[in-house]
Amino acid sequence: MLAIYKREMRAYFTTPIGYIFIAVFLAVSGFLFGITTLQSQTSDVSTYYQILMFAYIILIPLLTMKTFCEERRTRTEQLLLTAPVSLTGMVMAKFLSALTMFASTLLVTAIYFVPLTEYGELNWPRALGSMLAMFLIGMTFIAIGIFVSSLTENQFAAAVGTIGILFALLIVAAVNSLIDSYAVRAVLSWISIYSRYAYFTYGIFDIAAVVYYVSICAVFLFLSVRVFEKRRWA
């Protein structure tokens, strides 16, 4: 598993994907930070992170689109699947390497806290809570992206598919308020990744939400493992 993880990390930096991800992430994030906090002269970063979340719809598929479909297209998956490595280990290695890329780039945004504490009063619980929520949501999105990537051998299809699912998951919250039926709203709120996020922005550590994100993540990783299992038997 460690071998695959290390190879994945290397691959992010021997191909342009890693650089593009970091550059676009930081450029978008810097721009949003400038508008939402500096320009509106506030030290509240929750709006900034909230909008950044929508950028994930494009950014996360960049990280995950290649994971499995590239292996499938170039037949290198045959090496992995005939090596003494478990399917779970293989999926986890891919997941953790994408998560490492994402988390370390997200950490860079902590730099923004420096001017905020210097020239204003940063609400630390709210800032850190928002950041944690960002991490959890990103993690969930990566798991979804990896699952979609395991379904196809076309990177483009994987990226577009992931974008579609992530977009749907985020706008469910907006659609939800327009629906009259209580039953439909209850179902939609189960899959609304956005609405779980609210407590963190008030600086409250919402354990239920953490469990929610981790579970969704686990479900999609489990499904990815099943995809490989199923293909072997098909």
């Binding site: 460690l2 071998a3 695959i4 290390k6 190879r7 290397r10 691959a11 021997t14 191909t15 170039t74 037949r75 290198t76 998956e77 045959q78 090496l79 992995l80 699947l81 005939t82 090596a83 003494p84 490595v85 478990s86 072997r232 038997w233 098909a234």
Partner: protein, 320 residues
């Protein structure tokens, strides 16, 4: 070392592999021969744990690949039809990755240097795999299978797409490896497996057609050789003379006309070399032979022949 019994792989209603059984002993090189789509790759993929069988078992070193995949896979080095290369890595990096992937516990530098030495890829160690020629890629693929020194080596069409010189090199390599490994290699060319294998398993439409020692298959195939002869002379008379020649089972004019010569196909009786009598007989009549070559058998001919042979054997037994 390898035991396959009643292996079946079904895709919907189509049987890719239909009740195949055979075993391979330690230190044996077995050639897996069959036309494209016969089920060679499917069998190999099942044996290496890439696919699962519909029914039947595949064991490597006594370990069932489905029951204990982890242990079984450690015994196998596999070169798939398309070498599984990460083209954005250098040869050295790639082999190191495979070393880690297979969880080897040897002297890393020494082992990888050895593998590169044997497969002759040491000189391209620092180059990106995407920039290598097809021959080198194939050899890196073989090197990858050798990492960890597994007891069983499975090569799916190892020489496809290589030039003649490279083919000879790879054949020699496989023969050397066969001394202390169990090797299965597949091909759709008879001469390819004849050159290296001790035993040949022929498979067609997912079923085993023959499983014999290479010498035996060679004997069956060369028994009653087919020649193509180009002779100057009147067609009808030449053909009549050919048919009268002792040792000739069958002669026919193929009808390719070139100046005053015609081409004929001659099949000899088993174990008789008709070339000399042919020469003298024609020389006496003053007809010159301007071309004579043995016609190789196509895989289909081989199948037909082996089927006939099997039927004959069975009938023979029935009479006794």
């Amino acid at each position: 070392m390898i035991e396959i019994s009643h292996l079946v792989k079904r895709y919907g209603t189509k049987f890719a592999v239909d009740d195949i059984s055979f075993s391979v002993g330690h230190g044996e090189i077995v050639g897996f021969l069959g036309p494209n789509g016969a089920g060679k790759s499917t069998t190999m993929n099942i044996l290496t744990g890439y696919l699962s069988s519909t029914s039947g078992t595949a064991k490597v070193g006594g370990i069932d690949i489905l029951e204990a995949p982890y242990e079984a896979k450690k015994l196998i080095g596999f070169l798939p039809e398309q070498p599984p290369l990460y083209i954005d890595m250098t040869v050295g990096e790639y082999l190191n990755f495979v070393y880690d992937l297979k969880k080897c516990t040897m002297n890393r530098e020494k082992h990888i240097a050895e593998v590169m030495e044997v497969t002759k890829v040491a000189d391209v160690k620092g180059r990106l795999i995407k920039n290598l020629s097809k021959g080198y890629k194939q050899r890196v693929g073989i090197a990858q299978a050798l990492v960890g020194n597994p007891k069983v080596l499975i090569f799916d069409e190892p020489t496809v797409g290589l030039d003649p010189k490279q083919i000879i090199e790879i054949r020699n390599l496989i023969r050397t490896l066969g001394q202390d490994h169990t090797v299965i290699l597949s091909s759709h060319i008879l001469s390819e497996v004849q050159a290296v294998a001790d035993r040949i398993v022929i498979i067609n439409h997912g079923k085993i057609v023959a499983d014999e020692k290479t010498e035996d298959i060679t004997r069956v195939v060369e028994d009653g050789r087919l020649y193509s002869v180009k002779i100057c002379g009147p067609q009808r008379e030449v053909l009549a003379a050919l048919k009268e020649l002792p040792g000739v089972r069958r002669a026919e004019a193929v009808g390719e006309r070139e100046l005053d010569s015609f081409t004929y196909h001659i099949e000899s009786e088993p174990g008789v070399d008709v070339r000399k009598p042919l020469f003298y007989a024609l020389a006496q009549r003053g007809w010159a032979i301007i071309g004579l070559e043995a016609v190789g058998m196509s895989l289909e001919d081989v199948f037909m022949k082996l089927m006939d042979e099997n039927v004959r054997k069975k009938n023979g037994k029935g009479r006794q």
